[in-house]
């Protein structure tokens, strides 16, 4: 025989306990969702995006979730998705301006959307903050697209000083001299 009053009391008790525990578990659940999204992404499953989005909804402060979400949007190469990725990255970068990985993802999305001035600023900042030759080369490419020869040369020289053997920079420098 079921004791409904007792059952209801236990259910309410458990419900309260879970509601109280949920905020403590949010970061862990969000991280698990990111890992789940990664496993789907490796299997080339589009449901990965849902998991990253859910991870962000569970813990809006999860930078890794935002990073993976924005990178997924970059891989999609769809205009609407790219804009969505840019807005998510912008919101997160407002709170974490020092996150170069997320800034790099946003720059890649901006570049695909042909917003070269903004992409260049992000690439340049990433390149300077972590001495990333690839980011500086991409910033130089964007500066070249914008017709800023002086900035192009400066960025290429900066990249060349960090890694003198990086071929794309060597090629771009040779091209700018000729």
């Amino acid at each position: 025989m079921i004791d409904w009053r007792g059952s209801l009391r236990r259910l309410v008790l458990v419900g309260i306990a879970l509601v109280l525990a949920a905020p403590l578990l949010r970061p862990a659940i969000s991280s698990a969702l990111v890992t789940r999204g990664d496993s789907l992404l490796y299997a080339r499953d589009v449901r990965a995006k849902e998991k990253y989005r859910l991870a962000l909804a569970v813990d809006p402060a999860n930078v890794a979730a935002a990073d993976h979400y924005v990178f997924f949007e970059f891989l999609s190469r769809d205009g609407h998705d790219l804009d969505d990725g840019i807005s998510v990255a912008t919101a997160m970068l407002t709170r974490n301006p020092g996150d170069t990985t997320l800034r790099m993802d946003r720059a890649l999305c901006l570049q695909l959307r042909k917003r070269y001035a903004q992409a260049r600023a992000d690439f340049e900042r990433v390149g300077e903050e972590r001495g990333d030759v690839q980011a500086l080369a991409l910033a130089a490419a964007d500066a070249e697209r914008l017709g800023d020869a002086k900035a192009t040369h400066r960025l290429l020289m900066l990249a060349h000083r960090i890694d003198p053997s990086y071929v794309p920079v060597l090629v771009a420098l040779a091209r700018s001299r000729s």
Partner: protein, 146 residues
């Protein structure tokens, strides 16, 4: 081996949402059963759990394929396929299973031993409520992952 592992991971991921959904339903059923269906006669000797509940719990725990375990399972499976020795493959699978089951077995045997002591019998109801609550939490967790 890496290619096989990748294809295995892809294969597992293809129906992983079904596994997670089944786990969520299983844990939800177990949790609700533990919290709602309770013998109201507290003086009665603790009955053994029904075989259906035991099977459900065993299946749920046995089917656990968390994201962190999937690559390990795939690697064990790949090693088994590529090694010529059946014993090696079996040893790998058994080692993984033993590691996975050890914490649950410890809890199960520990709880069984504790229930023999009269003062601890009173804690049995609390333990059931806690395990029911944890099952509901796991149901939510696997529901999100599904």
């Amino acid at each position: 081996m890496l290619a096989t592992t990748a294809s295995l991971i892809r294969g597992v991921a293809a129906f992983s949402n079904v596994i997670y959904a089944l786990l969520a339903v299983g844990f939800l059923s177990f949790g609700l059963h533990a919290l709602i269906v309770r013998d109201s006669c507290s003086h009665k000797a603790n009955p053994r759990p029904s075989s259906s509940v035991t099977t459900l719990c065993g299946s749920a725990f046995g089917l656990v394929l968390s994201p962190c375990c999937t690559p390990v399972i795939a690697m064990v499976a790949s090693a088994g396929i590529y090694s010529s020795s059946v014993a090696t493959a079996l040893a790998g699978a058994l080692a993984f299973a033993a590691g996975h089951v050890a914490p649950l077995a410890t809890i199960g045997f520990g709880l069984g031993a504790a229930e023999r002591f009269a003062p601890l019998r009173a804690l049995s109801a609390a333990a059931t409520t806690i395990s029911g609550g944890l099952s509901l939490a796991l149901a939510g967790y696997y529901g999100l992952l599904a």
